[in-house]
């Protein structure tokens, strides 16, 4: 019996270890190549760690390429999208959570529909619509598109957070002398901060990763976001692996930071589920 238990224990740890390795290895390799000097790149191709490391690739990427521009563009686009989406989704999610009204069913149906159809279908029409408005090749155009794409999911997310806050609280505030909107702003929103953080994180990551529309809508380097910049870099200088991977590591940083931010609430949500069960 104990032998069997030790075996089960070992199998469990071994499996966990395999998953961790599988999850981290590609990222580790990215990091490894990005710090390998060019001279050693081919001679020490599949060594686990180069005999000498250097930050020359990072230096090149930051000094002599357009990546700082891409980085800045992506930061502007993702940041603005995250803030606008979270603000609008809070309002809409609050309405879905708290009001019973005739149009609610249709609004929910519309939002669900937008989650169902292939976004790639919209590539051509959106290009056609935005181009006479001068919104192609512009960060504003990208923000507009990303905001609309992310609102439905963010609304449902915020709604579920609002649903978790007892209705009594804003009723108490309304009796205390607040209008519904004041109660929403002063009582409910501060209590949804974890939800707001999670929504910000999700939307930021989604906008940071978006490729197809920015590829379609942006042509020059000036307004290119990180994915587009990296991809065009790859197709132009497809031999400079060290530099590409250094740029990749840089692109990874904000996403991982946001993940760590959400991770807490993710785990919190999981344990809350456990308590409920």
């Amino acid at each position: 019996m104990t032998g069997k238990r030790i075996l089960a224990f070992l199998a469990h740890r071994l499996a966990i270890f395999a998953y961790v390795v599988f999850a981290l290895f590609p990222l580790y390799w990215l990091l490894k190549v990005s710090v390998t000097p060019n001279k050693l790149l081919y001679s020490e191709g599949i060594r686990m760690w180069p005999s000498r490391t250097s930050f020359e690739h990072f230096e090149f990427v930051l000094r002599h390429s357009d990546f700082p521009v891409f980085f800045k563009n992506s930061l502007i686009v993702s940041g603005s999208t995250a803030v606008i989406v979270t603000a609008l989704a809070s309002l809409a999610g609050y309405a879905l959570s708290r009001f019973g009204f005739r149009g609610k069913y249709w609004i929910v149906a519309l939002m669900l529909l937008t989650q169902m159809f292939p976004l790639v279908m919209l590539v051509a029409p959106i290009f056609k619509m935005l181009s006479p408005l001068g919104l192609t090749n512009s960060l504003t155009g990208l923000i507009l598109v990303y905001t609309a794409f992310n609102i439905p999911f963010a609304t449902f997310l915020m709604q579920s957070f609002f649903d978790g806050i007892p209705k009594d609280l804003e009723e108490a505030a309304m009796i205390d002398g607040a209008t519904q909107f004041v109660a929403f702003r002063q009582i409910i929103l501060p209590l949804t901060l974890p939800g707001i953080a999670a929504t910000l994180g999700f939307v930021f990551t989604a906008a940071w990763s978006e490729l197809l529309f920015s590829l379609m809508l942006i042509s020059g380097n000036d307004a290119a976001t990180f994915p587009v910049g990296l991809l065009s870099f790859v197709s132009k200088f497809s031999v400079d692996f060290g530099q590409m991977m250094a740029a990749g590591v840089l692109a990874l940083i904000p996403a991982c930071l946001f993940f760590l931010l959400i991770q807490r609430y993710l785990v919190q949500g999981l344990t809350a589920g456990a308590v409920k069960g």
Partner: protein
């Protein structure tokens, strides 16, 4: 402080009616308790007075002024919620002062009013804590403090004690009563606990199925229930009911219990001969170990000591009923016992359940 007049109030959700025309006048300074089982519409009525539910038809007046269309914030009432609804992100002091801050009350005034309320409720050492760090009873006090700092026209209580344990509930009940004696504020209190209703109310409004069953002082409802529902709801252990047939022959009458026993009645009640009726008697009025011609033999099923007294479960014919006695001789009782149902303590209800 103000009077509250409710006339012909109806409420339905879609086609589902929950309140069927409620009329109620609450005098200035009165403590009225709405009591009834869950789903009877008492909370809905309270929430309509607060302005949290729309009125389907009818009229609510506070201090003579029609408030149907006023938002909750414009009605000048305070409410204590079952969940307390304390703002989790504010300290106790901020919770209590929130309504005053919304009304742009001068800071010195807020400070003095809040301090006064805190002292009255014994909250002084807790003022900087968050609600999370308070016990149930303390939260309850903060909720009351939040209500009293406003000096509103009326206090509404929505089952405020039901989340507390039994002992704390008893204590808070007394505190609410004392507070009402101090402030003399018009109060409407919703509960499903008939003991709270009995102990707190100037007047009880017993509700069932969206209809007011009886309005009166606690003892009126206890001694003279208007119908079967009120008789059964008020009092613990509840009133015993025996179904049967009322027999009248000249000046004398009798009641034939469904189980077969016949109870002779000296005077005549206002019931037609041979009609089906229900006889009710409170457990404490059942006389155990009785002797005499009208004593009946009942089977003893179970003896429950409560410490204060003894509840005896009995069967007469096939009808189960209870007796309550303070006499400890009955603790070891077994087999059969002679019981008597004294005529002055009997209640009769006609076929429709109305008291006759």
């Amino acid at each position: 402080m103000a009077s509250i007049d409710i006339s012909a109030i109806r409420k339905s959700y879609g086609i589902l009616p929950v309140l069927h025309g409620i009329d109620l006048e609450i005098r200035d300074g009165e403590f009225v308790v709405l009591v009834g089982p869950s789903g009877c519409g008492k909370s809905t009525l309270l929430r309509m007075i607060a302005g949290l539910e729309a009125v389907t038809s009818g009229e609510i007046r506070i201090d003579g002024k029609r408030v149907n269309d006023l938002a909750p914030k414009d009605r000048d009432i305070a409410m204590v919620f079952q969940s307390y609804a304390l703002y989790p992100h504010m300290s106790v002091a901020k919770n209590m002062s929130y309504s005053l801050r919304l009304r742009k009350t001068p800071a010195e005034k807020i400070a003095s009013v809040v301090a006064g309320a805190a002292t009255k409720l014994g909250l002084d050492p807790l003022m900087e804590r968050r609600p999370r760090a308070l016990s149930g009873g303390q939260r309850q006090r903060v909720a009351m403090g939040r209500a009293i700092v406003r000096e509103p026209k009326a206090f509404l209580f929505d089952e405020p004690l039901s989340n507390l344990d039994a002992r704390l509930r008893e204590q808070m009940r007394a505190e609410i009563k004392k507070l009402h004696q101090d402030l003399g504020a018009t109060s409407i209190y919703v509960t499903h606990d008939q003991i709270e209703a009995m102990t707190l109310a100037d007047r009880i409004v017993a509700m069932h199925g969206g209809i007011v069953q009886q309005v009166g002082s606690p003892l009126e409802l206890y001694d003279n229930p208007a119908n079967l529902f009120v008789a059964g709801f008020i009092g613990s252990p509840g009133m015993n009911f025996f179904e049967g047939r009322y027999m009248r022959s000249g000046e004398t009458a009798s009641f034939a219990l469904t189980g077969g026993a016949v109870l002779p009645l000296p005077s005549t009640a206002n019931l037609p001969d041979g009609s089906r009726a229900t006889l009710g008697i409170r457990p404490e009025h059942v006389i155990l170990g009785a002797e005499g011609p009208d004593a009946m033999l009942a089977k003893v099923d179970l003896v429950e000591p409560t410490g204060f007294g003894i509840i005896v479960h009995l069967t007469l014919g096939s009808v189960a009923f209870k007796a309550f006695t303070l006499d400890r001789r009955f603790l070891g009782m077994q087999g059969e016992v002679a019981v008597r149902l004294p005529v002055p303590n009997l209640h009769f209800f006609d076929e429709a359940g109305r008291k006759v």
